[in-house]
Amino acid sequence: MLFKSRQAVSQLAAALADNDNAVLEGRSLWQDARRRFFHNKAAVVSLFIIGLIILFALGGSQFAQYSYEEIDWLALSDPVSLGRPSIETGHYFGTDKLGRDLYARTVQGSQISLLVGILSSLVAILIGTLYGAASGFIGGRVDSFMMRIVEILSAMPFMFFVIMLMVMFGRQIILIFVAIGAVSWLDMARIVRGQTLSLKNKEFIEAANACGVSQWRILVRHIVPNVLGIVLVYASLMIPGMIVFESFISFLGLGVQEPQTSWGALINEGVATMEIALWQLLFPLTFLVVTLFCFNFVGDGLRDALDPKER
């Protein structure tokens, strides 16, 4: 008995000694944040739904019985009864007022809307982060000059500018990207600049300077990873804004070119016929609303997970 317990003790001691030599893994702030994010049910569910919607946009056309520009003359002859959503006719979401398959058109519209939302956010974030980080990091006169430019740009009547572009160059999807991306980076630049300024005075930046680390490496290794959290949160809240914006332009009839479409354009058409064919409004509207909700929940989850008060 005694012998046995002594053996156990020596085993324990050996195990502890082993433990002492093994390198202990630390948990970085990113890992912490990820854990916190995945504990947030609303955010995880939303992320899942966004994934589904993206899948729908990418692969939904596989299941469509019609192409998005093909007119079903039969359905057109009696849109209210034959153009109804039904599995038998193959128009899962019904048809629009021109007899085109609404399911295929929603898939197409989702592609455009998501593309606009994500791509123009990316553009905005890339320009905004670089510009803001550079401005804050260099500081002094350069900083004031760069920020004056931002102020001047944000004083421009942006809506007017977009509409003018559309009228002048015609309705091209690329123009929407450019127009939205070019203006929405302004806020991003301001936010990142503010963060960079406050980081620049942190002692660890001074410590890096004292160690002789080059300015470029300080920017890349010390500043950017520390503003990334904020950028991520802002990005997730920016995407829905972009989608709404595109929808708004399309709703005004200035967005994508027919026969291509987007959620906004579909809603616009649906509103016109909503008294006789409500589904033409409901389907695209549901997609838009659900997407916006989900992005906002994900953004909230990210913000909680990457809370700047974490330390």
Binding site: D20, N21, C211, R221
Partner: protein
């Protein structure tokens, strides 16, 4: 401590230009005289303590010594070479010999890097071609030296206590085997019990590696414990410089006397009977310092000539004791 002088500072001035608020961009900026003409020597292997109220320019002075802040005037001779004249590149190369330990242990570590990377950063900067394994070995050796378990190398700063974070900061400063380390209030953010550990660690490492330390603090007892010599600063000027025991037992300058009278004495009988000389008034603004002796607005013994011209720092005949006051000497 040897008599080998490694740094010689002459009449160093660090001024900051301050643009008054709501002014036009072309108005002349005000000049804040954070350090206004300090001369000092640092010897090999010694610890020079710098004390003074907050705002007296001690941190600024320390940063200017290692070229982290530009000097307006004066010379900082490091092993015979004037650092203020060096271009950015050669100054960066000198950083290998001149390192710094910071006040807030946690804030001085990048929260997104693990401590292995943090301690290795100076190595990576100066020896980019060093093989990874060797670098890691060096980092772990250094961690053991400062009393951290080497298997914590992949942990992140937020997983450590304040005292441990300061050890990480020390490891980072010492990994390049510098000759001079500036310690900017390295223990004032720590608990008292931890303070002693960190101080003793610093002293042990100093002996082992032959470092010279410049130790800044406002806690006078801590400074006395670690320093060989102490410099008292007031409003950007050196008031008194002396060997630590000499300064604490035999302060000469009115300002030093006032400071010393506030240090608690561990004997209750003496402590009860002693009088604390409270200084009148506030620290004047370094933007517009008093004429003559900067201390004259608060000095209990000020003379008429104190307002006319500033006293020079002069050495007392009997000891290594320098003092800037009209009461002493000519």
């Amino acid at each position: 401590m040897t008599n080998n002088r490694i740094m010689q500072v002459q009449d160093l001035k660090v001024h900051f230009d301050i643009q008054p608020e709501n002014s036009w961009p072309w108005t002349k900026p005000l000049s804040l005289k954070a350090v206004d003409g300090v001369s000092l020597d640092i010897f090999e292997g010694e610890t020079l303590g710098i004390v003074g109220e907050s705002g007296c320019g001690k941190s600024t002075l320390a940063r200017a010594l290692i070229g982290m802040l530009p000097a307006r005037e004066g010379k900082v001779a490091w092993l015979g070479q004037d650092l203020t004249q060096l271009d950015k590149r050669s100054m960066r190369a000198k950083r290998q010999e001149l390192q710094m330990i910071f006040q807030d242990p946690l804030a001085s570590l990048n929260p997104r890097m693990n401590i292995g990377d943090i301690i290795a950063e100076p190595l990576q900067t100066f020896f980019p071609n060093m093989p990874k394994a060797e670098r890691k070995q060096k980092v772990q050796d250094m961690m053991a030296k400062v009393g951290l378990l080497p298997n914590l190398i992949n942990r992140y700063p937020h997983e450590f206590s304040g005292g441990q974070c300061q050890r990480i900061g020390i490891a980072r400063a010492l990994i390049l085997e510098p000759k001079l380390v500036i310690c900017d209030e390295p223990v004032s953010a720590l608990d008292v019990s931890i303070q002693a550990q960190v101080i003793n660690l610093l002293m042990a490492l100093q002996k082992e590696m032959g470092l010279s330390l410049v130790f800044i603090a406002h806690d006078l007892s801590v400074v006395r414990h670690i320093s060989d010599r102490v410099m008292v600063m007031y409003l950007g000027n050196a008031m008194e410089v002396a060997e630590a025991n000499e300064l604490y037992t035999n302060p000469q300058h009115p300002y030093t006397k006032a400071l010393m009278s506030a240090v608690p004495i561990p004997d209750p009988m003496i402590e009860r009977n002693k009088t604390i000389e409270l200084l009148q008034g506030d620290l004047p603004s370094p933007i517009n310092p008093p004429s003559g002796c900067v201390f004259r607005t608060r000095c209990p013994q000020a003379l008429a000539k104190c307002a006319d011209y500033a006293p020079a720092l002069q050495t007392l005949p009997d000891a290594e004791h320098q003092i800037a006051c009209h009461l002493i000497g000519p």
